[in-house]
Subunit: 251 residues, 2 copies
């Protein structure tokens, strides 16, 4: 028996999230099926991040246990052949049997939120960004974002449907940059609550438009309870870029 | 009666081209329907470029005649409300009643062909680029492309199904650049034959991989007959960026 760690990229457009919803096809389901076919076993993966319906990933991480004789580094090819075009394994390697993708010290997760900021929509960007036609003041957004850096109780930046008890998380950095007509908000942290990055993006967009002053971010954070003012930005703009395990206890 | 010129952007993924195929929904059909609803008339557009199945556009041009009282510059909003999310009107203006989007002097059409060139596929790029995992030599590609500049008989760069009699076209410029993991081939010319840009891209990819020497492009061009060596690159990598009418005889 060995444990295989996979890095997974997917276009979330056609999925009801990684595992959240029951009334539609999920990434987890399709991965279980593809890996089971490749290994000729009944596989149940464990995922690092349960991304929402419509959210994308370039570097989600999953593990599974197998007795298959396929070498760990060849799993990429064996599994990709059994996956649809919108889910791609980008890396595979063996890890310790007790290595768990969620319970590790010093995890860094990197999310990007993409805003298509132009006068007119671009239909080729619609699946991977949210469209904002109004001018956004990036300096104001950066001022607002600064309040979120560090360890905080992010209860007011969490979907109320969440069942998590501990709402304390640490954000290491938030970078906001413009690349042509796109504004990209990059958020790095040790973990994120349900909808947290989308709420951060939603609130920062309001700051950028001038609806909120940057100080509003601090005010919302200190409330420690989710209100209507904590707007959730649409799912399609969000992509889980990568997950870094700093204390690599992999083989 | 007035003639309205629209600039149209679309994601071609879910369409059987602008008008070519009969066994599926086309861009033209959806535009006719949307504009007819907006104007309360039976509208038949005339398009500048009949893009292929799966090909995208950011700046295709169409015209239609109408008695509607909607001001020309408000047509954008009126029509967009009646279109699906993957087709967007980006500009509308009135032109002379005899202005035709195909029969104009000094037209410049700009196409881009996108290649996702990396070791592993990116599912978020799959609808808007073709994936090439091998290293491509851009210098060799540029040398090959140079043979295509100017006025030539492009018969060997044309789908044999084409019914066009005159296969002489002029290419003004071809630029090939790398932007991160993408290689973008930009082709400017006064007009293009059926599949012409995709065949140019297909042949240049072969040059980039070292399968063809740059001189092969000259050899193919001089044959003036399409052979199996003129590979057609996949539709999804192609986007009609813009059409410039240099002698603007619009109102």
């Amino acid at each position: 028996m060995k444990r295989i760690k996979l890095t997974v990229a997917y276009d979330g457009t056609n999925y009801c999230g990684f595992q959240r919803q029951k009334n539609g096809i999920t990434i987890e389901e399709v991965l279980n099926k593809g890996i089971s076919k490749a290994t000729n076993e009944e596989i149940k993966i464990i995922g690092a991040s349960r991304t929402d319906s419509g959210v994308h990933a370039l570097g989600n991480v999953v593990v599974f246990d197998t007795n298959s004789t396929i070498p760990a580094n060849k799993m990429v090819f064996a599994i990709n052949r059994r996956l649809p075009a919108d889910i791609v394994i980008t890396d595979s390697q063996e890890v310790d049997l007790n290595w768990h993708p969620r319970y590790q010290y010093n995890i860094e997760k990197v999310y990007e939120y993409h805003i298509f900021n132009a006068k007119v929509e671009n239909p080729m960007k619609r699946l991977y960004s949210t469209f904002v036609s109004f001018a956004l003041d990036l300096e104001q957004m950066r001022k607002g974002a600064a309040y979120l850096i560090g360890e905080h109780d992010f209860a007011s930046f969490c979907n109320i449907k969440s069942e998590v008890e501990n709402t304390i998380r640490e954000i290491y950095a938030i970078e906001i940059k413009r690349v042509n007509e796109e504004i990209i908000i990059t958020v790095r942290g040790n973990g994120f609550l349900y909808n947290m990055v989308r709420i951060i993006a939603g609130v920062l967009i309001r700051v950028g438009r001038g609806f909120y002053q940057p100080e509003k971010v601090k005010e919302l954070l200190e409330k420690r309870v989710r209100t209507r003012e904590s707007i959730t930005a649409p799912a399609e703009g969000l992509v889980l870029k990568s997950i870094h395990y700093k204390e690599e206890d992999q083989k």
